[in-house]
Symmetry: C2
Subunit: 469 residues, 2 copies
């Protein structure tokens, strides 16, 4: 007799087919307002930004009114049976006139999440419950949409999704501190004759780490399947507690064979623009909520970028000149040959250019060994995309495809090339030019949502001193 | 003048628009056949199962014929400029009459992958190069399609993708050995006064592991966003070297609120059937190749399952009866209360029922603490889906939603419930019935491809003693 509705989102999307019918729906109580004769409940199940209004006349529930009234606390779960009607108010399209209210799950103590605004720090401590708030509902619905947009983009562009290993023996680019992975009982580490740890006795028979990048393996795929991307977690054991750093985060890594720097730059631009368009189209209510509660021009900022014809490119040399001309603004003084600090990145993209900008042709000494030397022998065919709110969002390069050049560079950069024979094989047998880039997923989400802290766009962040939940 | 074609797949898909035109295309040389006046090259770039035939008349290349002939070794990368024509033979639709052949990347030594059939063990040792073979090309193109099919299915079913942590302090279900994650220098582990490892000094300030499941965190999401799934790597430090085990594998975990066991069983069936249909439709050439080179009735086996109206369900009790009646067949003797071994699973699904089968209502003592007790107090509302080729493919259950029952069961099962206060909070505030299941992604791929070993459906498998590449 009561038609069960799959979710509140489903009800909003297809309310016309449920209108003036008896329906059954579940959710959590988010708010309640009592008038003399009427009670209004806001129900939500996390599928929709907008709560569903439940209305009941106190008279109709007379015999149980006190019991219900006392137990209808914020946070409990309910099943509602009622009649769906058009709402008379402007605030919502529809509402349910309740016939029956069933409490599925009560509260055993005071629910920590109240209707008042909680600080983000408090909510981080209650990461398992913050997911039930409007803000984090919006964030994680958007995160899911962006995840899908990424996969959909690459499918349509004929890239293959690949999985690269999480447990690894190589330290990747030599960039970033590594977490160690072991099966040893740490109280009984076995040592060899030379009083070194006897890794032969460990699970994998050698020293292993959590990966910082899947790029080298992605290159093996690209030189086999041509166009590939990874989408998975990577790790940094850096002891820095900033709004831009977490120890475990997700990364998209792209690698394409027979492809030079300019082509990969075009791909990066297209990826970014498609993601913006897709998620604005699919989650506009969530973005409007974020805009109202955070960055006031979020949507127009994103839309402007989505329709840029070609994102500007400047040489690293030029960028450094601009920074040196404005050096009074910076704590870290820029000079030719230095890496860019976040303050430099933000100045360039937010203040100087006021739009996203690719910086290309970086000094070879501050970039990874696998990047392709330019003919000036001083710079490499690398690119960083800087965007407002974040600074560096995407980093990539053309890779060195020449065997001898790569070996020499590995020697010069002190890379243990004996351990990377398999990687050299990619140049030893049918080498080809190829290029790729990486996108930090949480930084992308900061850019898209306008939030200030990567810890708020991943559900259970890992940071120094914190692996809770 | 020569129109560049994006990939060999692109050329096959849209050959009509390139026909009788001058095109430019890249790839790797997979085979060559010389006749008196003609040379035939098989070119591929991994995007397509079928090689592209390049034809050149020796006369046209007379001045450089010897140089080219000597250097055209299997494995090198080439750029071909030529004229696309319909092929006169039946074997291929199209071929290129070469005007120019440019060697992009030669071989520096003998290419390990030759046209003869290599053993899978040899190819595993050359995991970075096996990706270039027809077999592994097919496997990893299918893997990518299945990855997409999973995400597409859940998007259409209105599930949110979520990321649960890889580094964790909890040992999940108490199931499976765990890898430890640490920043300690293993040669200088700090000890406290009691001669215990002083984890307060480690990166996260406590003992941390690689996750075996994201389920508990997924439950936090499901009781917030209603319908969620994870898709990422999980880990087992078990010292078992079988064709069904790897130490690092990908898992899909699904969790839905306001949902009981039967509903989650229906969802699991729908997921499996949609995946089969999607990948047979999108990768039929790859499946035909696998069928020709492996399981002879692969496609019809899959199709039959894809169109089953309802996958049969039997009680664990009934399954055990069947097994006891056939106990002479088994190394491990089945008895009521025992878990099923792979030989039991395969007997039930491959021989006895000869189709997939859900086994439901398992003895509570052999299942995880969070599974919902049935009213008989002996069994739990759990399901395993057994399928031919694999045995257990999917495992799931309704979760215990009652606070007191769950706490008592955690005590009974010796689960440190003090460390899982946050998990109990999900029952403390607005609890609701909810259910979920997990699918091992590599097992799913074994089921779909008909291969025998999970090490062949993940690119760089991690197993005891092996974390190469």
């Amino acid at each position: 007799m009561f038609k069960r509705v799959k979710s509140i989102k489903e009800l909003y999307d297809k309310y016309v087919i449920y209108l003036n019918q008896s329906i059954l729906i579940e959710g959590w109580l988010k708010n309640r307002r009592c008038q003399k004769k009427m009670v209004f409940l806001d129900l939500n199940d996390g599928t929709s930004l907008d709560d569903l209004q439940i209305v009941y006349r106190i008279d109709d529930f007379n015999n149980i009114v006190n019991e219900i009234k006392n137990n209808l606390q914020i946070g409990i779960s309910l099943q509602i049976k009622g009649y769906l009607v058009k709402s008379k108010t402007e605030e919502q399209k529809i509402e349910i006139l309740a016939k029956e209210i069933i409490i599925l799950g009560k509260n055993y103590s005071d629910y920590p999440i109240q209707t008042k605004k909680h600080s983000k720090a408090f909510l981080r401590q209650n990461a398992h419950l913050r997911l039930r708030t409007k803000l984090f509902g919006a964030i994680f619905r958007i995160r899911s949409t962006v995840y899908y947009a990424v996969n959909d983009f690459f499918r349509k562009e004929a890239f293959f999704n690949i999985a690269t290993p999480i447990i690894t023996t190589s330290d990747g680019e030599g960039a970033g501190e590594l977490f160690k992975v072991t099966s040893f009982d740490l109280e009984k580490i076995p040592f060899d004759q030379n009083k070194k740890v006897d890794y032969k006795k460990d699970f994998f028979g050698q020293k292993t780490f959590l990966t910082v990048t899947g790029q080298l393996e992605a290159e093996a795929f690209a030189t086999s399947l041509r166009k590939v991307y990874t989408f998975g977690p990577v790790f940094r054991a850096e002891n820095s507690n900033t709004p831009r750093h977490i120890s475990e985060f997700w990364m998209i890594e792209v690698e394409e064979a027979f492809c030079d720097l300019q082509k990969i730059i075009n791909l990066a631009q297209k990826l970014l623009q498609q993601i913006i368009k897709y998620c604005l189209k699919n989650n506009i209510e969530d973005f409007l909520f974020l805009e109202k509660n955070g960055e006031f021009n979020l949507i127009s900022r994103l839309e402007k970028i989505a329709f840029l014809e070609k994102i500007k490119q400047i040489d690293y040399k030029e960028a450094i000149k601009i920074l040196i001309n404005n050096q009074d603004l910076f704590e870290n003084k820029p000079f030719f040959g230095s890496d860019l600090f976040n303050e430099h990145e933000k100045f360039l993209t937010e203040i100087y250019f006021q739009e996203p900008i690719f910086i290309i042709n970086w000094p070879r000494n501050i970039k990874a060994f696998y990047m392709k030397d330019n003919s000036d022998h001083q710079t490499v065919a690398a690119m960083d995309l800087l965007v407002p709110k974040v600074g560096e969002l995407i980093g990539g390069s053309q890779r060195e495809e020449k065997l001898e050049v790569l070996i020499n560079k590995m020697k010069e950069f002190n890379i243990a090339y004996e351990e990377l024979e398999w990687y050299l094989d990619l140049r030893r047998f049918g080498s080809c030019i190829h290029s790729g880039f990486g996108v930090g997923f949480e930084r992308l989400l900061i850019f898209l949502t306008g939030l200030d802290n990567v810890k708020d766009v991943i559900a259970f962040p890992r940071t120094p001193g914190n692996a809770f939940f």
